[in-house]
Amino acid sequence: MKENTTSYAGAVMNCKQVTRNEIAEKYLLGQLNQADRESYELHYFECAHCFEELQTYQVVQTQLRRSAAAIRAEALPRGTAWRWAWVPVAATAMLVVSVGIWKGWLRHSSDRRPQVAVQTTQQAPTNTPSLDILAAVEPPRYVPIALRGNEDDATRKFQLAMKQYLKGNFAAAIPGLRAALKTDPDTVDARFYLGISELLSDQTDQAAQEFRRTIALGDSPYLEGAHFYLAKAYIRKNDLAAAEGELKRTIEIKRGHGDEAEKLLQQLRRLGKIQH
């Protein structure tokens, strides 16, 4: 075994640089260039503190990957996304009340009948899941097929990308799936799983486009799924009329997602978001 001299001569990072530049995260996400990666590797081989940090990130990353779908499906507490949302709501409410009081005062001064400005909001039944929950996506199962070494280039690229998909690393699967489609744009499975990977990586517009293209390729094992997940994309975009159309098409095709689509349609109706 020859002794590696590159690492001896390479520039060594210090702990401050590692923390300040979020090097551990970038390393685990494969976002460092070769020189930085090698410097960091040498650093954590010698630094107990940075190695501990890296181990923590790695084990947390692994566990997050395993529970990614569940975390994405979680409704965030109101305090996060909506912490400041109350400001315009309160301002509007105050305006409505003020206008009401002012109008009331005007009417009171003319016909002496008291007026009360009341704003009512139609509340969704509390046992109906929110739109966030209804838009949540569970990744469809993918079962790898046996390859014998004489497959075309697009299939090989697709299978390679799907290894990332199987690990729950959906964002990492996207470039490989796009490469497969560049080789053969009619690869329907690559098209469908690209849409899924984009949907799970919060690239909703691109995902919707891929599902529409999957549908445009005509009847395939992915046709029904493409309608169903396109409906999910529309729910995320709050385009519920379009979502309803896709769910109805999913039900018409009568394959694996039919019951789920039916249930989703009912829940949207219960939310009062679409007409019965």
Binding site: M1, E3, N4, T6, S7, Y8, E25, Y27, L28, Q31, E41, L42, Y44, F45, E46, A48, H49, F51, E52, L54, Q55, T56, Y57, Q58, V59, V60, Q61, T62, Q63, L64, R65, R66, S67, A68, I71, R72, E74, L76, P77, G79, T80, A81, R83, W84, R141, Y142, V143, P144, I145, A146, L147, R148, G149, Q159, L166, G168, N169, F170, A171, D202
Partner: protein, 201 residues
């Protein structure tokens, strides 16, 4: 001594801040290995196996392959020490790091030359081959993740798995970038603290 598979101390503690010994101590360790001291070999395995495994896992994303690579690196390093091929024993960390990198690169090169062969799977979609200790470790981290704020969980997922920048997460969650950074940092510190407490018990 026949090259056998080393017992890797992965399950001993979850996250370990294992300080490396001084250059003088490592030099002494190398001399003991060269004198066929088995305890010294085990000490070297204990010192470096986790670091090798972590690097292999970060690069290959495959635990089983990473375990095999860890064994290969340890065997190669011990062989080099025994054959007196180490020029500067005080720089052992750099040598082990370089050897790990070389073997990982060899692994990728050999894999690129092989046809991709996937076996049919009729079970879970993710073919995990974790041993019981790893499963327990990950379950402990899973429990800790359940205990933190759901928004912090989402921040960790978006940054550590999906590779979003703090600004992108901030825009998605309607928070400031600074708030995202602080919440992520606090969540990680909380997890580290609890893991340390668990390791001490």
């Amino acid at each position: 001594m026949a090259w056998s598979y080393y017992s890797l101390p992965f399950g001993a503690s979850l996250i370990k801040e294992d300080r490396l010994p001084s250059e003088a101590d490592v030099t002494a360790l190398v001399e003991r290995i060269q004198a066929s001291d088995t305890a010294a070999e085990n000490e070297l395995v204990r010192l470096y196996s986790r670091r090798i495994f972590v690097m292999a896992l970060a690069r290959t994303h495959d635990r089983e392959v990473s375990r095999d690579l860890t064994q290969d690196v340890l065997i190669a390093v011990l062989q080099s020490i025994r054959n007196r091929q180490i020029r500067d024993p005080g720089k052992m960390s750099a040598f082990v790091c370089g050897t790990t990198r070389n073997l990982i690169n060899d692994y990728f090169r050999s894999r690129a030359q092989q046809p991709v062969v996937e076996s049919l799977s009729d079970d879970a979609p993710v073919a995990e081959t974790d041993d019981l200790e790893t499963v327990l470790e990950l379950n402990q981290v899973g429990n800790l993740l359940c205990q933190i704020d759901p928004a912090d969980r989402r921040i960790l997922l978006m940054t550590l798995v999906e590779g979003y920048k703090a600004e992108e997460v901030a825009s998605h969650l309607k928070l400031s970038s600074e708030a995202v950074r602080q919440r992520k940092s606090r969540a990680i510190k909380k997890i580290v603290k609890r893991l340390r407490n668990m390791s001490r018990k």
